[in-house]
């Protein structure tokens, strides 16, 4: 079944794949973070809040805007960057060395990381491998843009 990006359906589909791969995510360990994903389109943004707890994505919702004080961090980028990342994951089965989140976001050239509290920002790195593996589950979806 295809899903479109950006949408809550896309994240819900990743959530379902995460449940199927419970063993793998348990092995990676607790993931306790709430973060935002912002996708820029024609000067506007579609914003999502993802709430992870223990080993699961507990909740995802679309919001009009994201208050940085309510989340640990926000991954923000224009739609073509997200699309390139998702298509790369589909092609390779996982993000290749130029398309993983840290590489895309490192100097803020492609994805930007916004945060209010550096402790929240550091949670991206504390749970990095789980977050990367979560996005890598896109390889199992048919995504339209």
């Amino acid at each position: 079944m295809g899903v479109s990006f950006p949408s809550t359906d896309y994240f819900e589909a990743l959530k379902a794949r995460m449940v199927e791969q419970d063993e793998k995510f348990r092995r990676l360990g607790y993931i306790d973070t709430t973060f935002g994903v912002a996708v820029g389109q024609n000067g506007k943004a579609r914003n999502f809040i993802l709430e992870f707890e223990v080993f699961d994505l507990k909740n995802v919702r679309e919001v009009a805007s994201i208050d940085l004080k309510q989340v640990d961090f926000v991954l923000e980028g224009d739609s073509p960057v997200w699309r390139e990342m998702i298509e790369n994951i589909k092609r390779n089965g996982q993000a290749d060395a130029s398309h993983d989140i840290n590489t895309l976001a490192h100097f803020g050239e492609r994805l930007k990381i916004r945060y209010d509290d550096p402790d929240g920002h550091d949670k991206l790195y504390r749970f990095m491998e789980s977050i990367q593996e979560f996005f890598d589950l896109s390889s199992k979806l048919d995504v339209s843009f």
Partner: protein, 381 residues
């Protein structure tokens, strides 16, 4: 011999008679069954997570109601047990809660246990087979790994040497510190393994770096050690791991750096939460911590500029040693260096030490560095 038993039990007739008497008669003492301790019924708050330290934060066993100064226990009696006469004094150096406690201490330990990984089996080492890096890239990667192995060995020693100095009533912090020593041992392992798998073996140890690292071991109090290790050094190392992941020439290196950065970010997280806690609960410590930061920042400034490290970075960042590679490498390395400093001050601000920027010589260097980078046309975003 450093410590002798207070009695020679082999020669103590009463003791030996009692041992034989119990065997002979089966007569039991059972006074321990009347220990004046509390009965509790712990429950998992979230069965998916399991039974956590937070779930057993109950009554006299808990940490929430611990006194600021632990006077009652100087032995290995577990917090909440009855402590009879005669337990030895374990001579802890740190018996004041605000000297080592952090907001959410217990969750850092639980997270550490849950997110352990294995450098032998979780890295796809086989994918390095047939990977031939150009000589200057391979040697630079190996130099970086040599440097990081030195870093991780001191990062193992420092928490480990503080462990027996912490009052056993602080079991959650002690557990976290033990988990950190394990994390750092694994980091030393993974970097050593990667150095040798480059095909170039190890490169050169760094006197400047080791001088900087030795400072971590020589703190007068746990809080001073923590600010130097968890905030200054590991804050820098966390930025360095993210940078190294970004530069990594293979997906195997990317995975190594993603896994080590998880542990490092947890250590920094504990450090931030401790720093906040100590500033709030032990305000007299603020000046002492400033003074320790003066030294730690001086040393980290020098360590970060060690030739063996910066040159390897420049070559890795620029992708080689041609003129245009070096120019690009210098730009990227400068951005990284300034980012390290910027993030350091952001963390101190948020922990409740915003005045640090005024006092810090490192901050002046940061401003000078930003101006020089801009003058050189380096885009700092």
């Amino acid at each position: 011999m450093a410590y002798l038993a207070t009695n020679n039990y082999f020669e103590d007739k009463d003791f030996v008679d009692k041992w034989l008497y119990t065997m002979r008669t089966g007569e039991l003492d059972l006074s321990w069954m009347n220990a004046a301790t509390e009965k509790v019924k712990p429950k998992e708050a979230n069965p998916r997570r399991g039974l956590t330290y937070r779930d057993i934060d109950l009554g006299s066993y808990g940490y929430t109601d611990m006194p600021e100064k632990v006077r009652r226990n100087r032995s290995y009696a577990p917090r909440g047990a009855e402590i009879p006469e005669g337990v030895p004094d374990a001579q802890p150096w740190v018996s004041r809660k605000s000297e080592l406690w952090a907001f959410n201490t217990e969750s850092y330990y639980e997270e550490a246990v849950s997110r352990q990984w294995n450098a032998t089996t979780d890295i796809p080492w086989d994918r390095l087979e047939g990977v031939e890096l150009p000589e200057n890239i391979g040697k630079s990667l190996s130099q970086l790994m040599t440097f990081l192995t030195e870093v991780e060995m001191i990062a193992t020693d420092t928490p480990a040497m503080w462990l027996p100095r912490l009052n056993p009533d602080f079991i959650e912090v002690r557990s976290f510190i033990a988990s950190q020593a394990m994390d750092e041992a694994r980091h030393a392992e993974v970097f050593r393994k990667r150095a040798l798998t480059t095909g170039w073996g190890l490169m050169q140890a760094s006197p400047m770096n080791e001088m900087a690292l030795k400072h971590l071991r020589d703190a007068d109090s746990f809080s001073e050690m923590s600010v130097a290790l968890h905030l200054v050094a590991e804050g820098n190392v966390l930025t360095l791991f993210r940078f190294s992941e970004y530069l990594s020439p293979t997906d195997v290196d990317k995975r190594i750096f993603r896994l080590v950065m998880q542990d490092e970010a947890r250590h920094v997280g504990y450090g931030m939460q401790h720093f906040k806690y100590v500033l709030e609960h032990f305000p007299e410590k603020r000046e002492v911590l400033h003074a320790h930061l003066d030294e730690a920042e001086n040393i980290s400034f020098a360590g970060a500029a060690a030739t063996e490290l910066t040159e390897a970075f420049i070559i890795l960042a620029g992708g080689g040693m041609k003129q245009e590679n070096i120019e690009e490498g210098i730009k990227i390395t400068t951005k990284f260096n300034l980012k390290q400093m910027q993030e350091h001050f952001e963390r101190l601000d948020k922990c409740g030490m915003p005045e640090r920027r005024e006092r810090s010589k490192l901050y002046k260097m940061y401003e000078m560095g930003v101006a020089a980078a801009q003058a050189a046309g380096i885009n700092l975003n």
